[in-house]
Amino acid sequence: MQIPTVFITALPTIAQMVGANRVVRGVAITHPTGDPSLAAGDEAALRIRILERAADMLGTEVDPRTVWEVDA
């Protein structure tokens, strides 16, 4: 039995290479789900957008090793 998993990472090619099928591109290696250059409110909103993208991907049928960007 498989558990659908979405992987948020700033290195999506390595994720694809090891076979991750649902990948959302994270912001940076040091903060995949954050951005210290943004004001606090904007960063919180960005994080929610990243998670919404991840949730979308969990609910979507995908081809193997698919990477989605988070729309800016």
């Binding site: 076979g19 040091t30 995949p32 789900t33 969990l58």
Partner: protein
């Protein structure tokens, strides 16, 4: 012919999960399934055993002890397992086999093809594929015996396809007729002419994408991370690199990961920004927001963490299987995994 057999605590007769921390032991003669090998024609001279948890948590010392016994006994072949579908047992067999192979001693294992032991052996062992549980013992022992006897006698063994063991994935160095640049240009000219060739096939260990979660608004999602996020002070001493454990921490009542409450101990990146706001690694606050908005049904009330630095693929595969087993039992429907 001298044969050494490796077993875990259960098959050596020390007990089940409660004995998983058992220290390495050396016993004369066959134990447990070792007797089945004797019936099949392979007499075991020495049995060495170790608890699965002991090996996983104290790998260097356990391995050193086991290898010292093997070096002393100087066997003609080593057999380990069968470990069937067991992740930790398979991993231990695989790691031991890798080191035995480096000593130029043939080694035979048996496990499911997706066991982390296959990766851990790094092509050094002859691995007989098995079903997931001990019911497969009856079929597995004779195949292992046949391979072990011939390897111990120094006979050449045929290909994986012919002999029924898993392809070893070994890549051995040979001298080609032309230098790599000449071969590269030749391959490119052929490709431009419509014929694609490659000397290295794409990675083969693929899992097809699971079907999507049918109703995320009523599903349970778990947060997992390799970013080394732990409670402030790292109370359970998660290693900063070469982690041999994953940990779990409760999230009930926690709305957001605070800088005071949590930190990251991952040695592979600059942790400054993450320590100012651990949600930048494990997006708890945003996950809560999605639950409040009805996008996700519920958030599983613990998160799973390890630090993914210098983690061998076989170890990571074992973590994944273990965490998956935990959350499957807890009724989790999907995972959001974050990595650095």
């Amino acid at each position: 012919m001298r044969v050494v057999h490796y077993l875990n605590q259960f098959f050596a007769g020390f007990g089940a999960e409660e004995a998983a921390g058992h220290e390495p032991v050396r016993l004369e003669g066959p134990q447990g399934p070792g007797r089945a090998f004797a019936a099949a024609g392979l007499h075991v001279d020495v049995t060495i055993a170790c608890g699965d948890d002991r090996f996983a948590l104290d790998e260097a010392a356990s391995l050193a002890t086991l290898l010292a016994w093997i070096d002393e006994d100087a066997p003609d072949v080593v057999i380990a397992g069968p470990s069937f579908g067991s992740g930790r047992y398979g991993y231990a067999c695989g790691v031991l086999a890798r080191e035995v192979a480096r000593r130029r001693i043939p080694v035979v294992l048996a496990m499911t093809p997706d066991s982390p032991g296959v990766l851990a052996a790094e092509g050094g062992a002859y691995i007989v594929p098995t079903g997931a549980n001990v019911a497969a013992m009856r079929h597995t022992v004779p195949v292992m015996t046949g391979l072990a006897l011939r390897l111990a006698a120094g006979e050449t063994v045929g290909t994986a396809g012919d002999e029924g063991y898993l392809p070893r994935g070994l890549r051995v160095n040979v001298r080609a007729d032309d230098d790599a640049a000449t071969r590269a240009v030749g391959a490119l000219v052929a490709k431009l002419g419509g014929r694609v060739t490659t000397e290295i096939a794409p990675p083969a260990d693929r899992v097809s994408p699971p079907p999507p979660v049918p109703d995320l608004a009523h599903a349970t999602v778990a947060l997992v991370t390799e970013a080394g996020c732990v409670p402030q002070g790292n109370p359970d001493r998660l290693p900063t690199r070469h982690a041999n454990v994953w940990l779990r921490y409760p999230l009930d009542g926690v709305a957001s990961l605070s800088a005071d409450g949590y930190e990251t101990v991952h040695a592979g990146f600059d942790t400054t920004d993450a320590n100012l706001d651990p949600n930048r690694l494990v997006p708890l606050d945003a996950a809560r927001a999605l639950v409040d908005a009805g996008r996700i049904g519920t958030l599983h009330e613990e998160f799973f963490t390890t630090s993914g630095v210098d983690t061998p693929v076989a170890v990571a595969a074992r973590f994944g299987q273990e965490i998956a087993a935990e959350i499957r039992n807890a009724g989790v429907d999907a995972v959001i995994l974050t990595g650095t």
